[in-house]
Amino acid sequence: MALLEIKNLHVEIDGKEILKGLDLTVNAGEVHAIMGPNGSGKSTLAYVLAGKENYTPTAGEVLFNGKNLFGMQPDERAAAGLFLAFQYPLEIPGVATMTFLRTALNAQRNKRGQAELSTPEFIKKVREVAGKLGIDQDMLRRAVNVGFSGGEKKRNEILQMALLEPRLAVLDETDSGLDIDALKIVADGVNRLRAPDRSFVVITHYQRLLNYIVPDVVHVLSHGRIVKTGGKELALELEARGYAEYQEEAVA
């Protein structure tokens, strides 16, 4: 069953069209990789799915679990099970990581009509998840992402994902700026969450991450459209040959 269906999606930022008729279907349980050169619209896709302001869909539709995604605010999308791991996770001075996590989790539970977790229940759950991801308790005591290294910030995104247990996680260049050890931790976190009813869209510039998160489907995004779709071997091809031919193809 299709969890995410994107049909002929056009998106503008400040009057400039970035996505130009993008089609993508992600079934439950699948991992899709979206690869493409810089400026092809990868991050735009991630942001428009999450509902960022000024990313304006001008045509097409996106169905998430059968519902029109654009009818929902960002927080409603999150509560419906959509998660975006940010390429550049933000620092929030003055907001403790634990407060942030608890507020997010309980807000989602509230919206889904589930009971909020009590403080002890919540702490137990966070410790459990953090432990599996090798996240230091000290990190949880600090303000959200403040003073975190690049790797710590990405790990924090994965922690949030693991805690919030989304139906669909979109990872926007989560591998950028990570050394091989951090990359393995992040990939391990994702693989642990793979489940028959959970899907992933892994956006990346490089094939490297896909050695650790093995995709079911690989797409090439160029000039705002999916120009090629294949299996995991497509990623290796791209690594070997580069994006040049797809850039030309899209222009043509």
Binding site: D75, L90, I92, T103
Partner: protein, 444 residues
């Protein structure tokens, strides 16, 4: 009155003059105090209410803002006392010794002045004035700047207040809470307190002001605070007046050597609020933290005006003031750090930040440094801006609804100021006040 007198023009100015003429004979105090009142009133008669051409009042034009002057509040009756019984919720669960003032008059029956700790003495100002208590008269008017018209009016009309002394070396564990309550009468109160904390003593002072919602009244409050050498004093003021009230208050403090002094001003209530702090660092080696948080909306106007006067050397002062302004609210911060020629090695840093939640809100920040010594570290910074949309989006992308996301960011913004309050109970009480304000604000 002399020939240069500015004619009294506004209705409020006329009413104040009439009030003084009527009340002059019956206000408490001996001839010396009466002379002090007359001299103070002359300052007002000469200057009139402060207006925008008076630099210190540039952003708070009291002459324009004060449409009338309320009559002096009558002594509290049974109804007024009943209102006061339920007052004081803003300090939460803090176990404090309460001194309750209703419509400006000390109410012993609602106050707790039994079993005073060793070294602590408490009187009402009215009593101390009536019998010319030298403990009072030796100090009264020594700190509050008489040239300031708000202070002058306070001195002219002061009816009651607290006179507190904490003897050298005494530690008063229980916070002292001066609770000023308006009963709902459209009246004016002028309260004046004198607090003397002798060398090495420790005290925690809470001053709160409140009145029932919708009540239109005027409060002019002043505190003169003497902090002795090596004393440790915290002063937390909570302005929780009704949203229609006028509140002008002054804290004038002289701080001795090697002291610890922390002041916090929390403003959420009042239609027009002016908080004045005049701090003199008279002794060497003192460490002070002067902070504040303001949360206002509607058409509220709140002005914090601070003068930190470093007279002695080797003192450190930190000033942090944060304001959150919604709707058409107007926040003003004027902060001046003065470093006198002998105040070498002064380390003074001031930061003021305004968060504008609406395009119609206005923040005026005026930080000033006047440095006459050559070996000092001083600085100031001021910012004003809206909530960060990127941060809000990040929070929302995690499922946090917009109102809650804004609330988290606002709490974080104020946190830096509020978390500096040493007393855990008060810190929590004010954090709760912020949460209540945000809850009332609701979603956008």
């Amino acid at each position: 009155m002399n020939a240069e007198v500015t004619p009294i023009r506004t209705a409020a100015e006329t009413a104040l003059a009439q009030s003084f003429a009527q009340a002059r004979e019956s206000l408490p105090g001996d001839d010396a105090v009466a002379a002090q009142r007359d001299a103070a009133f002359d300052v007002f008669a000469k200057e009139g209410l402060p207006h925008r051409r008076v630099e210190e009042w540039k952003y708070t034009d009291l002459r324009a803002l004060m449409r009338d002057a309320k009559p002096l509040a009558p002594p509290p009756d049974a109804t007024a006392k009943a209102v006061a019984k339920t007052a004081g919720a803003r300090v939460g669960d803090v176990e404090a010794r309460r001194l309750v003032f209703v419509d400006g008059a000390f109410l012993e029956e609602l106050s707790d002045i039994s079993g005073l700790e060793n070294g602590l003495t408490v009187r009402s100002l009215a009593d101390a004035l009536a019998d010319a208590d030298p403990a009072l008269t030796n100090h009264l008017g020594k700190l509050a700047p008489g040239s300031d018209v708000a202070v002058a009016l306070n001195t002219a009309f002061m009816g009651d207040g607290a006179v507190i002394r904490i003897a050298a070396g005494a530690t008063v564990e229980r916070p002292l809470h001066l609770l000023f309550v308006n009963s709902g009468k459209p009246a004016a109160t002028f309260v004046r307190s004198l607090i003397v904390v002798d060398a090495g003593a420790r005290a925690m002072l809470i001053e709160s002001h409140e009145g029932p919602a919708g009540a239109d009244y005027q409060v002019n409050a002043a505190v003169e605070l003497f902090v002795g050498d090596a004393a440790h004093v915290d002063h937390v003021k909570i302005v929780g007046e009704s949203a229609d009230a006028l509140h002008v208050s002054t804290l004038a403090a002289a701080i001795g050597a090697r002291a610890r002094f922390n002041a916090f001003t929390f403003t959420a209530g009042g239609a027009i609020v002016r908080n004045q702090l005049f701090l003199n660092f008279d002794g060497e080696g003192t460490v002070a933290a002067v902070r504040g948080a303001t949360l206002i909306n509607g058409r509220q106007h709140a002005d914090t005006t601070l003068v930190a006067n470093h007279i002695a050397r080797d003192c450190q002062s930190r000033e942090v003031f944060k304001s959150v302004l919604d709707d058409e609210a107007h926040g003003v911060f004027q902060g001046r750090i003065i470093v006198r020629p002998h105040a070498q090695k002064t380390d003074a840093k001031m930061m003021t930040q305004a968060l504008l939640l609406s395009e119609r809100a206005e923040a005026d920040n005026k930080p000033e440094l006047e440095i006459f010594a050559d070996d000092v570290q001083c600085g100031h910074g001021a910012t004003a801006g809206a909530l960060d949309d990127e941060l809000k989006f990040y929070l929302m992308a995690r499922g946090i609804p917009p109102a809650e996301a804004e609330a988290l960011l606002i709490q974080a913004f104020l946190g830096e100021a509020i978390e500096g309050i040493e007393h855990a109970g008060l810190r929590e009480a004010l954090t709760d006040q912020v949460a209540a304000w945000l809850k009332a604000r609701g979603g956008r």
